[in-house]
Symmetry: C2
Subunit: 247 residues, 2 copies
């Protein structure tokens, strides 16, 4: 019985299955934790696109010094969530229409490649299916906010099929950037709903092991989403910028 508490050492001091807990031990610097908080706040719309983030105010609110806060700002600026203007401060970024087009350009490349090079991985299939079902449930209960996030997760799982850490990170950043776009659109309710049936279609192809088929559907999906988004976004983004200027 007591044996179950003794680490199972195979050889060379390697304790298998323990590396997973590495993240729990790894402490993070204050700047990174602050960046995490701000990242979450931006994602949920607490800080709206175009808004300025005052060093003084946020520093006081979070109880960290300006220097530490500035390190956090650098991180988020690098992720394109904030825009840094010299001597003016940092602002929540307002993606341009060109940004949206470029984001979809990259998503098409990444997600389609991941789906096309499909390998049989039951574990990830389950995760994809799970995300689709979460989306269904959200739509049924009319929880539009959850529907949006479920859809994001669905696409992140698709990208994860590539099995690449860097791809996962990249897609995470792209979707975080897209969230800014949706905050400006301010009507994500109806936007995602229409794509629910397509999620199922894509999932079916994937489960059938039909990579190219899934890719074709996904590409059309992304093309349509981009077109719909870009069409409605052009004015909105400009209006958001104007609103900031006029405030």
């Amino acid at each position: 019985m007591a044996g179950s508490l003794v680490p199972v050492v195979i050889e060379d001091g390697v304790v298998p299955g323990l590396e997973a807990d590495r993240g729990l031990v790894t402490r993070k610097s204050t700047a990174e934790r602050v960046a995490g908080v701000l990242r979450k706040r931006i994602a949920e719309g607490f800080f709206l696109p175009g808004g300025r983030l005052s060093e003084q105010d946020i520093g006081n609110a979070l109880g960290v010094s300006r220097n530490t806060l500035r390190e956090a700002f650098r991180l988020l600026t690098h992720e394109r969530l904030l825009a840094h203007e010299l001597n003016r401060g940092v602002f929540v970024r307002i993606p341009s229409v060109e940004d949206v087009v470029d984001i979809y350009r990259v998503r098409k490349i990444i997600e389609c490649a991941a789906v096309r090079g499909l390998k049989a991985k039951p574990a990830s299939f389950a995760r994809i299916k799970e995300k689709v079902e979460i989306g269904d449930e959200a739509a049924r209960t009319g929880n539009w906010k959850d529907l949006g996030t479920a859809n994001v997760w669905f696409h992140q799982e698709l990208a994860a099929l590539s099995g690449s850490e860097r791809v996962n990170e990249l897609v995470g950043r792209l979707t975080a950037e897209l969230r800014l776009v949706f905050h400006i659109m301010a009507e994500p309710r109806r936007f995602h709903e229409r794509y629910l049936p397509r999620n199922h279609e894509i999932l079916d192809r994937i489960e059938a092991g039909d990579g190219p088929g899934a890719e074709q559907l996904l590409l059309k999906y992304l093309d349509d989403a981009e077109e719909q988004l870009v069409g409605a976004y052009a004015d909105r983004a400009e209006a958001a910028r104007a609103a900031i200027a006029a405030e």
Copy 2:
């Protein structure tokens, strides 16, 4: 005559064609300039993988405060050029074998997609050809260092066919990371040379407008390069780590 110096204002205070000069006015903060210097130094091998970057020493050498320097460190850590270990400092990163595999995984996705979706763009064709010729010249004169950088440029131009700002940035980061690998290998001389003929083959296909054909060659190219690199790298990386530990 004097009229040519007068801004042509159409309406609403808009001066057309001037936005392009925006980048020239944009000053950079000290932290970004410092990051630029360090980035260059790392690329050229002045700071070798595994080496520690002392806040004190580098701060004194560059004449900037620790705070500013730390902002620069954050930037480069985010780019995976530096590794930040809490309370131990920042080190020039030693990519793992898994990193190399992942880098090539992403490169295959990105570069192949860019080449496949080939559109007729004479300007970029010329740029690609130029890079190939620079490589030829470097090989002829036995300038192995230049050969390596020319090869990097060649691939960056291929990726640029995608027409995506984000793809360009990503590929730039990946190749910067790969440079770390080559610094550890310490023998880039012969590595790139064997791929010169393939550069030409790929270029030919591209100029012929044969996207899929070029993609096929490029994929094989990257597979071979990865295999060769990974095979030789596994020991080297471990040796580099051990050397640091034993120093």
